[in-house]
């Protein structure tokens, strides 16, 4: 649920009051509902001259998605999204026209609008000017995102050199960034690589992108894990809900809500991977998606840290994922998508969370290393790093601290568990095979780290 402050400043008398007082007014974020339009208005596709072909290709795709696509800003159109294509920009100076054109229509970007840049990643061997042009998009996008208002977000797709702009993974990522599913993803650039040869063509417009898939979600009893299970099930997956036996009551609730099965299991058990695999295969005929969501907190300043507090966090948040991944890699499952929950703490650090940050940064490490192993069988390993998410856990943070934490991100509010779940579902999507070894932050552009 959207927090009470955000609700209050967006409705009735309290809205008027907040406006007069100049209080921060976080927007009501538009979230995905089946059947609603992908964007809140027409999509403007702009590019520099060199990237025009790519822009045309993308515009064609967007038309295929039944969007109102414009190549010209016009005078009175209120846009739902702007796609800025800079894939072939060779020098920094070449971007000016397209960038400024984008700027000229920003005031006409609707609330909950989207700006998506499509560019290429700087690579070894790039000429200095090319490298500069490519890397410049990073700083540009992050700054642009901070200037957006009314729940609008800015995110970037960064293609590797060997990836075509119209390949499935790029389009899937573009669709995610344009959609309400990325409501709390802001100021992020996601690297997309080449498609796997012979990957099946995916229907990117379906409401059930995970139909027929079998997913395992650990820590599914409540909070973000339960939301992930619900979202994967919504997208068509059969979900095996895993949590420790002691959390079984909530786990059963989740499993019954999503029509999945409950597997009471401590992920730190030595045979956890085997049991997950066995359950998925015997009961559901296979395994396509694994979401490592189970995690614990044992916050303590390092000086006061007891061995049990350190070890428990590392065992659950990191070692368990490693062990299960090892089993999964050995099993050689085809097209397996593994999504691990990292944390912004693991990226930017947080006082009192040396153990937690150690584990979450470790998750990012093993995700990068596991990615090529799974890619051999057409699979992916990615991480989602949530920022401040409104859960039972964050509800226990003192009110003042919580209120400040909410206002820190560009979107001036905490995220919902479903925002994390949407990012996970996106990375679990077979269409995103080209997104591998990445960390996708779901933080409303919180000002920490990268």
């Amino acid at each position: 649920m959207t927090d009470r402050y955000t609700q209050a400043v967006n409705s009735g008398f309290t809205k008027t009051l907040a406006t007069k007082l100049g209080l921060p007014r976080p927007a009501l974020l538009r979230r995905y509902r089946a059947g609603e339009p992908l964007t809140v208005g027409p999509v403007l596709v702009v590019s520099d001259g060199a990237s025009k072909a790519d822009a045309d290709a993308l515009a064609q795709t967007l038309l295929g998605w039944d969007l109102d696509v414009r190549r010209d800003p016009g005078d009175d159109v209120r846009f739902g999204a702007i796609v800025l294509v800079l894939t072939e920009t060779a020098r920094p100076g070449d971007a000016s026209e397209a960038v400024l054109a984008t700027g000229s229509v920003l005031r006409r970007l609707a609330g909950n609008g989207r700006v998506v840049t499509v560019s290429r990643a700087a690579a070894e061997g790039d000429a200095p000017a090319l490298s500069a042009a490519r890397n410049a998009v990073d700083g540009f996008l992050r700054s642009l995102a901070k200037e957006l208002r009314g729940g609008a977000t800015g995110n970037g797709i960064v293609l590797t050199d060997d990836a075509a702009v119209d390949q499935t993974s790029v389009l899937a990522t573009l669709r995610f960034f344009l959609s309400a599913k990325s409501a709390y993803v802001d100021g992020q650039l996601l690297r997309v690589g080449p498609a796997k040869a012979g990957a099946p063509a995916a229907d990117l417009t379906t409401d059930r992108p995970l139909a027929g898939k079998v997913a395992v979600v650990t820590g599914a009893a409540r909070g973000i894990g339960a939301a992930i299970a619900r979202t994967l099930a919504r997208d068509g997956a059969t979900v095996v809900c895993v949590d420790v036996p002691a959390a079984g009551e909530g786990l059963a609730r989740t499993a019954n809500a999503v029509g999945g099965t409950a597997l009471q299991l401590d992920v730190t058990a030595p045979d956890a991977g085997q049991r997950i695999l066995l359950h998925a295969r015997e009961r559901h005929g296979g395994l396509d998606i694994v979401v490592h969501n189970a995690g614990i907190l044992r916050d303590k300043l390092l000086a006061n840290m007891k061995p049990a507090q350190w070890d428990a966090v590392i065992a659950v948040n990191l070692e368990a994922q490693l062990q299960i991944n090892e089993t999964l890699v050995q099993a050689g499952l085809e097209n397996l998508h593994v999504v691990s929950l990292a944390s912004t703490s693991g990226i930017a650090g947080n006082k009192g969370q040396t153990n937690y940050a150690f584990s979450k940064a470790g998750v990012i490490g093993h995700t990068r290393a596991t990615a090529p192993l799974l890619a051999e069988h057409g699979g992916t390993a990615n991480a989602v790093a949530p920022g401040f998410i409104e859960t039972d856990m964050t509800a226990s943070i003192p009110f003042a601290t919580r209120s400040v934490a909410r206002l820190l991100p560009t979107l001036s509010q905490g995220g919902e568990p479903v925002d994390v779940a949407e990012a996970v579902a996106f990375l679990a999507w077979p269409a995103t095979a080209g997104v591998n070894g990445q960390v996708l932050r779901v933080c409303g552009q919180h000002m920490v780290g990268q």
Partner: protein, 447 residues
Amino acid sequence: MATRQTARAQSAGSAQAPRDAVVVGANRIPFARAGKKYADASNQEMFTAALEGLVARYGLQGERLGEVVGGAVLKHSRDFNLIRESVLGSSLSPNTPAYDLQQACATGLEATITIANKIRLGQVDSGIAGGADTISDAPVAVSEGLRRALLEAGHAKTWQARAKALARIRPADLKPLTPATDEPRTGLSMGEHQAITTARWGISREAQDEIALASHHHLAEAWDSGFFDDLVTPFRGLSRDDNMRPDSSAEKLAGLKPVFGRSLETPATMTAGNSTPLTDGASTVLLGSREWAESHDLPVLARFVDAETAAVDFVHGREGLLMAPVHAVPRLLARNGLTLEDFDFFEIHEAFASTVLTTLAAWEDADYGKNELGLSGALGTVDRSKLNVRGSSLAAGHPFAATGGRIVATAAKLVAEKAAETGKPARALVSVCAAGGLGATAVLESA
């Protein structure tokens, strides 16, 4: 023509040899000492929770099962359709039929027998058996005098008649009646009855305490080893049976004062430590035909082979109240061509430690075997190392109607594990004694 005849012969043949009923899995909530964690939980809430855990474990959401059968021993009048109401409150298809059944402490096992029989007959393909009982939320009745006066006043047609009926209420009538576990025909509590049986068989205090201690230790080991991870779903913040005392010791048990049999001539031996406590809880067992399990990609733990119930005349002391299983088992074994030697596991419900011991003693007694069981001698000896190896009611507690489901689940998982480990079939004997001189017993085999 010939083909048709063959088909008919086959169908007649299959009617004579019923198909297998198998235990797919089970779920219960942890058992809680009365008045504690489940103090405000009703039978329906507990049974629904147990059902929901089972549905979640086996992905039965929206599934129309053949039948759900179960019951409660202590029941509110509002719980007249307890199991059906629980089904309606669950994630199962509302088109799943259900009915209540009650056979005191054997309710859960009798429900399992009923479902298994229907599956074997082909009347249903799947079903859930179970039971729930609460002491904490037990029905409190009004006195007979108040009840009669109220009923009469309710039936009265004039206010005078109503006033007259109500005027018969005496202050003593206003005292509520809490349910008693006393046998209605003898006025003796179950504990007193068992104390008499204990005295008759000369069972020692030490032997009883030993059984109790083993029960706690076995149950604690089972919990620690994760045996119950796929048999139990937590409820109301309780994730393990809270009667369990892993740190119990012979010394602690020996220090307890006897609570039953204190008015007998022989020394009293039955304490709160070697008797089951009053407990709240609920349990379920999922059964199906092999075909049903297979078509639903469900595992099979065990085959529910056969069952036998018995009753004894305890009213005039001809036999001990809780000795009915002693009589049922020889008949069950004879029908299946088995002896006690043929079992890998014995799950004998620990109503009291001495119930287990008097049962074993009776089976080992040659005269008793001849005179009471109609055998040529003693039935045989139960290998203690195969007895209640994952703990039983003394440690887990005994919410009457829920115990059968707990025991069937444990027995089914034990034979499945043993068979997987050894590659050979494994077999378990289940025995549950019940109030009213009743007993239900069953044989399970690895599937």
